[in-house]
Each structure stands twice: as C-alpha cells, then as structure tokens.
Subunit: 198 residues, 2 copies
C-alpha cells in the first residue's frame, strides 16, 4: 500500500532491488533520504546522474571505470610484461586493489563456467584472456575457491598450456567455498604472496 | 583506494550513509547498479530526481508525500471526526497504513521527548497536536513502547485532559522496547483493535 505518492513508492521499489536491501530496509532508506534531503538525497541524486553518464566497462580488462581503457590498464607503471590477475568479478578486482597487491593488471572473466546453469567458455571473457595472456610473465588465477571457480581455473590452464606464461593460483588461505570479496585485506595480500604454480 | 574513478567512489560513499548499508555493501550495490545500468541504475537515477522535486512534508500531519496536505489528510473518507493516530515517525505511519488500520488520520510527532538529549515539547510537533486533537473523537497514542515513548504519551495525555477527546494507547502486544516499524502487520492490527483508554 502506497503511503507517500507514486514517486516515493517507485523509489522504494527500485532501492529494494539492491543487494543487501529488502522492501523494509528500502523504505527506511527512502525515509532517511527524505529527512536528509539537502545533505544526502540531492547529492546522491547528482552523483547517480554523473555516474550514469560516466561509467564505462573497460574494453581491455572488463573493469568498470569512467574511462576505457580503465585507469589500471592505462597506468604505465603496471606493465604488460608483469603479472595479470584473473578474477571472476569486478568486486574481486576492487578487493585486490584495496589489499594493495602492487603494480599488476587484471582480467575480469565476468562469471565462471557452470554447465548446469548453461554458462560455457563463450559466455565469459576467456577468448580475450587467451589473447592477452602471452604478453604477461605470469597469470594468477584468482578465482573463488568454489567448484565452478576451480573448474574455470582448470579450463583456463588447459587453454594457456601452449604459451610460455607461468600460471599460478592464489595460495590456500582462501577458505574453501569462500568468496574473495568477503576476505580481509591481510589474508588476500598473504594469499597472493604465497601463490603456487599450477 | 579508488578503483573506479571519482564518480563511482563518491556514489559508494553516499550510498554507504544509508541505514542498513555499510562501505562494503555500498560497493556491492554500486557494482550491481553498474551491471544493471539500463534496467536499474538509470531508472533509479530518474526516480531519485523526480522524488527530490516532488517530496513534501505535509503541513497538517507531518507525513511525507508529493502533496501537502498529504493524500491521507486530503482523503474525505478519513474524516476529522474520527480517529487520530499519533506516531513518532513517518515510518510508523507507513507501517500502520500497511497494516490496513482503516479510515484514520495521523499526527507525526517527529521524535519523542528526551530530556537527556535535550528534546523538549517545543522540539517535536506537540503544539499542533494539541490544536488538532479536539476535532477528533479519539486520539490513539501509537508511540513506541520505550521509556521516551511512554514519557511522551504521558506528557501528551496531560496536555489533552481539558478536551473531551478520548485518549487511548495501543494494546499491550507491542513488545516492551520494541519499535513499531519492525512488527508484523497482524500484531499491529491486533494492538490497535485492543487499544485501551488512558
Ligand atoms: Zn582495464
Ligand atoms: Zn498529512
């Protein structure tokens, strides 16, 4: 039942679709926005407008940024000759960046192989990875420690055997079944330092 | 560390200020928005723009709506001669509306008396309540079952003793220390039906 006009009701329904918010917390969020109209609602509205216009997916690595190539791909201190870290999702890339893993580049797969869900090699960014990989000394498969993540890592390893690039994975230390994005930054840094060759 | 340009970073920081979201869930929310740019991010941006322009606080009852008087105050089926439900916050009004309590009107106090926090009778909408109350048959004090809520109810009862209006409160059934907005709708309906005279 609408208690605040169609504009408010629609805002609640859209916010309720964000991960971590449901209908009840979306209503609380909207009331909070309305109470903090000048200091939060108007700035958020403006920030969202700007982000809609500015946000791009990097054509090189799959990161999201306001430029393409993204800031990481365009950074000359992160050379092609170094380390390429392969992640499932942009959130994993951001988690590794927060952990301060150094002058690396990334490749965002945009998912994992999952035959049961009909996700095959052509549905995620594997072809472009096979193309990029030989220009790097080392490819680190930083996929989640899930069955699908490990299946994806095996498939990528098979596809890259012809290149001279060293292929590694994150050290055990990533909890089995765990997702990178939920790990603390120290664990992530350590897992990268202790990475092992596949 | 910013991984997605200043526009994205700013959006994360603003979303993190919403109740129920922290920095981590705000990042997830922003990534979700970016992935669903056409179906969610753009509609949310437009809805927020519209809401910023449209949202008003009702000058009669304190509800938020896109008109003032609000839809409830302007609804002729909810007559002044009936029941006025006094709530602390707009979220409580919305919770009662969702519970379908009937053709009632509301008065939003916008807080509770709290001497320790320096909140006195002039800081919440008590004067306008004292003015409105005599035009209703019954005033239901639907404040939270907290110390401050009950203090506020006592204070309002004292201020309204001169009027002939019947003053009631919600039946016990509201858990002690509990907040209306978190109750299920059946409990709220029952508590209103079994309301008792103060
Ligand atoms: Zn990039
Ligand atoms: Zn109103």
């Amino acid at each position: 039942m609408a208690s605040g006009g169609p504009e408010i009701e629609q805002l609640i329904q859209l916010l309720a679709r964000l991960p971590g918010l449901g209908p009840r917390s979306a209503r609380r969020a909207v009331l909070h926005l309305i109470k903090k109209k000048e200091s939060l609602m108007i700035p958020l509205s403006a920030a969202l407008d700007r982000a809609v216009l500015a946000v791009k997916t990097c054509e090189v690595c799959g990161n999201v940024d306001t430029t393409s190539p993204c800031g990481i791909c365009a950074d000359p201190r992160r050379t092609e000759s170094g380390m390429l870290i392969v992640v499932e999702d942009v959130s994993d890339l951001w988690a590794l960046e927060r952990a301060g893993v150094g002058a690396v580049r990334y490749h965002v797969l945009g998912g994992v192989l999952s035959p049961l869900d009909g996700v095959g090699p052509d549905d995620i960014s594997i072809a472009s990875l096979v193309e990029r990989a030989p220009t790097f000394k080392e490819v680190v498969l930083a996929v989640n420690a899930t069955v699908e993540g490990q299946t994806t890592a095996h498939y990528i390893t098979d596809r890259l055997t012809e290149s001279d690039t060293k292929i590694t994975r994150l050290a055990h230390g990533v909890p089995v079944g765990g997702e990178l994005d939920y790990l603390d930054e120290g664990t992530l840094s350590q897992a990268l330092r202790a990475r092992t060759q596949i």
